[in-house]
């Protein structure tokens, strides 16, 4: 292989790679663009043609419709934050802890426990959630955020991911070293294991946060009091009007719902971009 042909290959590769990446970028940004643009257009304009790149002039009008309802969007933001942060924190912490129990210790029920977790994950969600709402209703957890937060402690998929990640990336010698230093098991987990797990935790935290933030159905039927509404519930109320849908306000509502997600995502994404090195591993 001559130098020239290898350089040509490299240039061809770069052209190909950049073309593909730019194409995918356009595909990724496009719906957001349409959403933001439609937030500035009137319902009539949207009904006549929903896809355009030309902004309209009805942003304030849409905002009036959105805020003129019986709910308070700022309260919705606070409620969504409480639920999403609470559920994400529990999900990530306890899933990592459970995975750690599976990877770091050799206990008799370990294999069976892992199989059970896998099995739980495979039961179609249609089945696993049957009875959940009813149960919540019976124990009076309707209109209680905990009904949406506490179940996050048992998230089989996250445990599975953390376990897979730990098996590949958690050096056992490190834990030994910690034990030699006199560190207690629980504090070893908090001080040494958690930092190593950061990239995995950040990735799962994003998914968990997005999922909880966008969740609609469960909140919709569990949180019936309008001071408890989350942001997606508010958008669904705008949409649920039977004879007329204020699409402009709906798109504005969707845009405002997605903005906090952006912030959270971009904050956590540094772990994805920079590729936080596994400080504990080297040396």
């Amino acid at each position: 292989m001559t130098k020239v042909s290898s350089r040509n290959g490299s240039i061809a590769f770069k052209i190909f790679a950049y073309t593909l990446c730019i194409l995918l970028t356009i595909l990724s940004i496009f719906p957001f663009l349409i959403m933001f643009i439609n937030a500035t257009r009137s319902t009539y304009e949207i009904q006549q043609s929903a896809v355009t790149l030309i902004p309209g002039t009805d942003l304030l009008n849409n905002f009036d419709v959105y805020t003129g309802k019986t709910f308070n969007p700022f309260q919705g933001f606070v409620n969504s934050m409480i639920i999403s942060i609470g559920a994400t924190a529990l999900n990530i912490y306890f899933s990592t802890l459970t995975a750690y129990a599976l990877v770091a210790y050799n206990w008799r029920a370990r294999g069976a426990f892992f199989s059970i977790i896998m099995g739980v994950m495979m039961i179609p969600a249609q089945v696993t959630s049957i009875g959940f709402y009813q149960f919540m209703y019976q124990i009076g957890m309707v209109n209680n955020f905990l009904a949406l937060i506490l179940p996050a402690m048992a998230a089989p998929a996250t445990v599975f991911f953390m376990r897979q990640y730990m098996v590949a990336n958690l050096p056992m010698d490190l834990l030994e070293a910690a034990r030699i230093d006199g560190s207690r098991e629980f504090s070893t987990f908090n001080r040494i294991v958690l930092p190593i797990m950061k990239p995995a935790m950040a990735t799962q935290a994003i998914f968990s946060f997005v999922g909880n933030w966008n969740a609609l159905f469960l909140p919709l039927i569990l949180l019936t009091n309008n001071s408890n509404y989350t942001m997606p519930i508010m958008v669904s109320l705008l949409k649920g009007d039977i004879y007329k849908t204020e699409y402009g306000a709906v798109y504005l509502g969707l845009s405002l719902t997605v903005l906090p997600l952006f912030v959270v995502y971009f904050l956590l994404s540094k772990y994805i971009i920079a590729g936080v090195a596994l400080g504990g591993v080297k040396g």
């Binding site: 490299s10 206990w107 969707l254």
Partner: protein, 328 residues
């Protein structure tokens, strides 16, 4: 003495699992068992007083297995899943290779990584609306374009064509999830110790050799995770098929989950049948997952064995230390 030490560490395994187990028992177990039970009953209608037991407890299972729409929905589900998953995992792997290679640094890769996940942030309802607008008939952006540029003489009715509708659903799934899959794989690669790559560099391994020789084997556990969760998620595909064309045209985008939903909510409230169909899907998913684990078994086992050896070494070391220092 030695034996007691070993047990003293094992107890942490139990202790650390307690929160998960408690939450699981509270929030998942009861509803699951409840559903399993009604699968063997004539559970029909909203009034549970009208529910009966069945002469043949497997009647619901027989009804579902011989139900043509159910058979078709399984076929649809597998077909749409394959159409979306194969391109998805390939693209995700390709991007992972590009974004993690230490040789040809693509400029702006941080930007790309972040952007590609974004379709996953929007709710499925919004995406379904956008796509149905996009493929609108007789007026819609796609039709406007292909007519204007003369590809066709008159607008195409995309929403009446079965294959086109399946492809569009598969494409939406592909587009929503390839970024997610890529992020998972990248997080796996980031976990690989840089020493291994440095060693490979010194050995003069090229990009391809490094990817197939080092990266792939080292993210195998994560790859299994991706395959298994995609399989489970794919076989439970529900929101886009429901929201985009509600399973049409002619049932071509009715997935198994949508079928189950219809059993329970299309008007007849046939919970017994819905539950039986769910359990059948559960069995299918378990079998498919076992098949996946089996296909990936060799290398995984190697990794496992290595782990176990390490564990054993660690344990031995721990015993030694513990023995030397007494109980802390």
């Amino acid at each position: 003495m030695k034996r007691r030490k070993r047990l003293s560490y094992a107890k942490y395994g139990y202790m650390f699992s307690i929160p998960f187990v408690v939450a699981f028992l509270l929030f998942s177990l009861y509803p699951t068992l409840y559903t399993m039970v009604i699968g063997f009953m004539g559970a029909k209608g909203l009034d549970t007083a009208m529910w009966t037991s069945l002469d043949n407890p497997f009647q619901n299972y027989i009804t579902i297995l011989t139900n043509k729409s159910f058979q078709q929905s399984i076929g649809n589900t597998l077909w749409i899943w394959m159409m979306n998953f194969i391109p998805q995992i390939l693209l995700a792997l390709l991007l992972t290779a590009w974004f993690t290679t230490r040789r040809t640094k693509l400029k702006g890769q941080g930007f790309f990584k972040v952007i590609f996940y974004m379709p996953n942030i929007i709710t499925a309802a919004t995406i379904a609306i956008l796509f149905s607008t996009f493929f609108g008939y007789p007026m819609g952006p796609v039709n406007d374009l292909i007519v204007r540029f003369g590809f066709v003489d008159s607008p195409i009715n995309f929403i009446i064509d079965k294959t086109v509708s399946q492809v569009i659903v598969a494409f939406i799934q592909f587009w929503m999830w390839y970024g997610y899959t890529m992020l998972i794989l990248i997080s796996g690669v980031l976990g690989i110790s840089p020493d291994i790559f440095e060693a490979a560099d010194i050995d003069g391994a090229n990009t391809f050799q490094q990817f197939f020789g080092i990266t792939l084997p080292n993210i195998r556990t994560i790859l299994i995770y991706t395959l298994v969760t995609s399989l489970i998620g794919g076989l439970n595909m529900f929101d886009i098929p429901r929201l985009y064309l509600n399973g049409g045209p002619a049932g071509s985008t009715t997935t198994a989950s949508l079928f189950i939903y219809n059993q329970a909510f299309a008007g007849s409230y046939m919970y017994g049948r819905a539950s039986a169909a769910s359990m059948i899907m559960f069995v299918i998913i378990v079998l498919a997952s076992l098949l996946l684990f089996w296909l990936m078994r060799d290398k995984d086992e190697v990794a496992q064995n290595k782990m176990m050896k390490q564990n054993r070494k660690a344990q031995a070391l721990a015993d030694k230390t513990a023995g030397g220092r007494g109980l802390l």
